[in-house]
Symmetry: C2
Subunit: 259 residues, 2 copies
């Protein structure tokens, strides 16, 4: 950052960070994925160092804004963004603005119960979508089936990643296909529920796991359609994210430009 | 209605109807619970007869507005209303206004998947909350357990209603208690998910089944708390509806006054 700043001072800075955080107070609260962080007044710290206004945003919300401003949700009024990677996160755009809720928690699409008989979520709660459909959950499911003796080209593959499973699914490996069908189905049920609940014009699905493409999207779309009311389904398109990793960057740029 | 009108013409009329409908077009589309209705241009029909402006609203949305304006959600900015009766419906108030979505479907909180192994919902889809936690679903579950031989004071009770089951639960009947614990738990998982997703200040729970009180609310609150993030849980209160059957009437009055 010091090097970057040698070229000149920024007029304004937008920062995407993992939640939970308070956008109003500019404080990040012990993000579970950032070890050693306590309650960090990140906005004040950066403003002091840089001498320019700083806006903080939850990383999934920032990505939602990016996709809405310059990606697959462009031009929509109501959009739901779902990101499937190490976790399942999201962001909600309503009436052309990011919806943050009462305490900046809104948009946690990965933390809704989709199966009470499902595994424990990384957040510690039972049956959440993230515990079933995120990358590590897909890997865990495959590993469990391998231990049970299921035949697969993935046997002996260590360490196994969701990308490996996706590649095997594309090669026609049956267990890998099943793993993505299962994750896709649960994602689709959740997306269908979001259509009935929020009736958006677009649902944008991104994140590393979504790069698997059709092996995930086909079962997802089928399950979403089976769950949604026709009037909700017909009002919406479900799209792949356009900006990939850059979505968050584009989103905070939007916020910084808005001031 | 003719009699009512003899006393004078209304200046404006608000009407709550079961969905689906288009608020903009003033048209009701084949409501599943109103047999014989096709596509009915209800707003135009009423305006022609009455000679005054008419506003239509989905009945659950109207009740949500009523509870927000004059009931348990009074003074809140973001509120979710859940009604549990013959079905499970709802309405969403965001930033102090009814949120209708892209095609007036938004707020269908009963039609999210909470258990893929659950029964078929009256809407024909599998695993929806309504198929598990609405009054008829509670009765159906009790009847199934009775057929399996479960002991209960409800044996031989025909026809059985959700009100009968609630009364038996209050008397200490174990099967009836279990039935409400089960429905409450599923409702709570859904409410917890809504807290993570929409992060409202209030969730108002109404409808005939909610009149059962603590036998439903205790397991519901426990499950909601177990599902929600602490920051979402702490930002919200979960309240019983205050207006009961009058909520919809109060809601359309609000809409009519708004013009």
């Amino acid at each position: 950052m010091r090097e970057l700043l040698e070229g000149g001072r920024p007029g304004r800075l937008g920062v995407a960070v993992p939640g939970p955080l308070s956008v109003r107070e500019g404080v990040v609260f012990k993000p579970p994925n950032l070890h050693g962080w306590g309650e960090v007044p990140l906005r004040a710290m950066l403003q002091d160092r840089l001498g320019c206004p700083v806006v903080l945003e939850n990383d999934a919300n920032a990505a939602a804004l990016g996709e809405w401003w310059r990606g697959s949700g462009r031009g929509s009024r109501h959009m739901v963004y779902v990101t499937v990677s190490t976790g399942v996160g999201g962001g909600i755009i309503l009436d052309g603005a990011l919806y943050r809720g009462a305490s900046d928690v809104a948009g946690e699409v990965g933390h809704v119960v989709v199966d009470p008989a499902g595994p424990v979520c990384p957040c510690g709660r039972v049956g959440h979508l993230e515990g079933i459909a995120a990358g590590p959950a897909i890997v865990r499911w495959v590993e469990g089936r391998l231990r049970e003796g299921a035949p697969s080209t993935l046997r002996g593959h260590h360490p196994l990643t969701a990308e490996d499973v996706a590649a095997a699914a594309w090669r026609g490996d049956r267990l890998a296909r099943e793993a993505f069908e299962r994750a896709g189905r649960y994602l689709g049920w959740a997306v269908g529920g979001l259509l009935n609940l929020l009736n958006p014009e677009v649902v944008v699905v991104g994140g590393g796991v979504a790069r698997a493409g059709a092996v995930l999207f086909e079962p997802m779309l089928e399950a979403a359609r089976a769950t949604a009311f026709p009037r909700a389904w017909e009002a919406a398109r479900v799209e792949r994210a356009a900006l990939d990793d850059r979505a968050g960057l584009v989103g905070v740029a939007y916020l910084a430009l808005q001031g």
